[in-house]
Amino acid sequence: MSNASWEALSNQAVAACGVVYFLALLAHLVQWAGLRRLAADETVTTGRTAMAGRLGVLLTVIAVGIHAVALLGRGMAADPNRVPWGNMYEFTLAGTFFVALLYLLFLRRFALEWMGPLVVALVLSLLMLAVVWLYEPVAPLTEALYSYWLVIHVVSAVIATGAFTLGGICSVLYLLKERSKADRGYLARVPELASLDRISYRMHAFGFPVWTFAVLITGPIWAHQAWSSYWNWDPKEVWAFITWVVYAAYLHARATAGWKGRNAAIVALVGLATLWFNFIGINFFSSSSQHSYAAPVTPAVVRIDPAPSEAPL
């Protein structure tokens, strides 16, 4: 297959998985509309409502499969072939993929059925944003990005981002449910506070070491090779560090009795805000970042990579 046809395949796959995610969302909406009529402690295992739920998960599995094809296509379309996370469009594509994939992987283990509609809606909206605002044609990477550390560094950062995002969803629901007195409907059906808190903790406990690996081990190793200094206090690094410190504070907060639950959830969401700000905000607000996608300012000596688009992390 030619590069152009790989690229076309990727674009079609993005559109197709968007449609399937949308169908999955519809199925989950039907499911939850059905569940609304029941008391919160009643479960259904047969009939239309249960079918819709299972259909939602099945469609999500299919969508994630097509999503994977979209990523593969991006990588294969480049010459030379490469990992599909060279710009923000691709990073969003990869990030949403891992959010959806982790949700499916943890579905059984943490009984995450209730999270289906939220995850699918989030992934779908991010994908749409990516297609509308972030799309860029496939292009070769700039020189500094040709390193296997790019593969390891970014993939771990994306996985951690996925886990933190899922954990953040739990924390939001914790805060919402804490204030809600409803005995029916969505909030009444999500797991009780203690288990939301616990699931959230475990997502974060999974994400934190991965993030540590991404930003404090592989990031500096790569930075050392490419930029001659393993830690530059570059804005992207600063915010990755801030995120790390906030999540360390979250784990501490959880470890002290008084900070379980509500306060911990707030710290977790602060962490998530710093994480997303780092991904999106810094690219637009900071011109000095070596990670910047924005058009480079004029440096005294043009770096070897004054390219318009560099690694997101």
Partner: protein
């Protein structure tokens, strides 16, 4: 520390501490120490550290982006003095930023030391005796059997050992504990934060970072005088420079001519001949981005490149007063570059040139510009000055304070537009300028970062410790037997999960598993 552990470690009950107002000096000191090393303080300091790191990502930092910083200063003359007072241009080595992390480190040491002692004792102690009422534990199960209580206890001990518990067998009960490594992981993690900091500090004190622009074909030897810029660590001494030298033999770039990134350069390769010391053999290395050359403990990086037009200036008397490759600094991705030629020894008058080099000259919207970075249609375009050119602090700037532009007869500035090989006479018998050819230069960064492996070892240690601390689940299990009135044996099993996130389902599963095996082996025995 969790409440649970606070109790275990001898019950330092913080609530009961008296307030500072009714304490003597010694008590006050102890109170302060306790506050500093308390978990809440650690938490606040962590959040504070995150907060304190923010300004440095918004205000351009002197060390990271000195041009950005000076531009910012020019744009905000009113705020600049305030910002300078607050060290906002060098946040990460400012006293207030340091204060936060030093406090955090003190707190950390204050936390690690006592906990290590406690841990040491816990390691050698036996699993605690069974609480009186196992049914009140969070995880509990019970069954009744006709087996002999002694057999049940033996079987329970065997099963718990098989599950890697440390077991103490009592008369009618078994106490078991596992997951000791969790606390070890936690200690290792916190300790490694200190290790990372030591590594980081070593780099800051004994390392250096320097840059030099080398014209392809010429060489460099590692000596302070040869650097264009040099930032030493606070304790760095000049004699620590390793005595290597290298010559840039060749430099190659691939220019993309099609596709969405047309115009981008790729595959920069700089071929170096180098010697580790003046009397060692010469070796060759292909220096590329992401592939630094390491000599001893010094790393050499290729971080930039550009053009150096070869320019010769003859003065009014016909003598060559300036000749050689002149480094032009690129100002954008098309490698349109800016450079100056100060011919201070020209007679009768000094001659200064200042202007642009276009690797691929084109007119865009009527303005001269470069449309591509490679040498397709090179053009040198410079204005001429004469008069006093000053002493020249920078080789990239022409000091024109006491110089005047050379004009054409019609009063327009005299501009040299030259292609390689051209030679042009200057007006008024000033002399002539020739553009003899184009060479390339490489910007080479040379740095030594002692402690980088210490820091790396530290973060790897931190990760390992973290995994232990997050995923090893410390648990205690007790089994107790008693005879019921009807003569049967009642077996109580209780468990306490002491890990942070807990995992009730897995806990229950384990308990059920233990019970099942015990019952099964019981049946097998009968």
């Amino acid at each position: 520390m969790t409440q649970q552990q606070t109790k275990d470690t001898g019950g330092r009950d913080r609530q009961a501490t008296p307030m500072p107002t009714d304490m003597n000096a010694r008590e006050l000191a102890r109170w302060t120490w306790r506050q500093v090393t308390s978990m809440r303080t650690a938490l606040v300091l962590l959040l504070l550290l995150a907060l304190a790191a923010i300004p440095g990502s918004i205000v351009p930092q002197e060390d990271v982006d000195s041009i950005g910083a000076s531009r910012w200063r020019d744009a905000h003359p009113k705020l600049t003095p305030v910002y300078e007072k607050l060290d906002l241009f060098s946040v990460y080595d400012s006293p207030w930023f340091s204060a936060i992390y030093i406090l955090l480190m003190i707190s950390l040491v204050g936390c690690i030391v006592p906990r290590t002692l406690v841990y040491w004792r816990a390691l050698r102690s036996r699993p605690p005796a069974a609480p009186r009422n196992l049914a009140r534990l969070p995880e509990h199960a019970a069954y009744t059997t006709t087996d002999d209580p002694g057999d049940v206890v033996t079987r329970a001990a065997a099963e718990l050992k098989r599950r890697r518990y440390r077991v103490v067998v009592g008369e009618d009960s078994v106490s078991a504990e596992k997951g000791y490594l969790r606390e070890a992981g936690n200690l290792v993690f916190h300790l490694s934060v200190l290790v990372v900091l030591v590594g980081f500090a070593l780099g800051g004190m004994f390392g250096y970072k320097g840059g030099v622009i080398v014209v392809v074909g010429s060489g460099f030897s590692n000596d302070l005088t040869q650097y264009d810029d040099f930032v030493p660590g606070s304790l760095f001494k000049g004699e620590d420079l390793e005595p290597f030298s290298f010559t840039v033999k060749d430099f190659e770039v691939d220019w993309l001519t099609e596709g969405p990134r047309a115009g981008m350069a790729r595959k920069f390769v700089s071929t170096l001949d180098y010697q580790e010391s003046p009397d060692s053999e010469t070796k060759t290395y292909d220096l590329r981005v992401n592939h630094p050359l390491t000599i001893g403990s010094t790393d050499i990086f290729l971080i930039g490149h550009g053009y150096a037009p070869v320019i010769t200036v003859k003065d009014g008397k016909g003598d060559v007063t300036y000749s050689g490759p002149t480094i032009f600094l690129p100002t954008d991705q098309t490698f349109q570059s800016f450079g100056v030629v100060p011919a201070r020894f020209a007679k009768p008058k000094q001659i200064g040139l200042e202007g642009e080099f276009y690797p691929t000259f084109a007119l865009g919207d009527g303005l001269p510009r470069s449309s591509f970075g490679d040498l397709v249609n090179p053009l040198l375009s410079m204005l001429v000055y004469t008069g006093d050119l000053g002493t020249g602090d920078s080789v990239y700037v022409l000091d024109k304070t006491d110089a005047t532009p050379v004009l054409k007869a019609n009063g327009q500035p005299f501009r040299l537009d030259m292609r390689p090989g051209d030679e042009i006479d200057l007006p008024d018998g000033l002399g002539s300028v020739s553009f003899d050819g184009i060479e390339r230069w490489n910007k080479i960064q040379i740095s030594r970062t002692p402690g980088k492996l210490v820091a790396l070892a530290g973060v790897v240690m931190a990760l390992v410790g973290l995994l232990g601390s997050l995923f090893i689940r410390p648990r205690r299990v007790w089994v107790r037997t008693r005879r019921s009135e009807s003569g049967e044996t009642v077996v109580d099993i209780g468990a306490l999960d002491r890990s942070n996130g807990g995992d009730p389902e897995r806990g229950e599963l384990e308990l059920a598993g233990i019970m099942e095996t015990m019952q099964k082996t019981g049946e097998d025995a009968t």
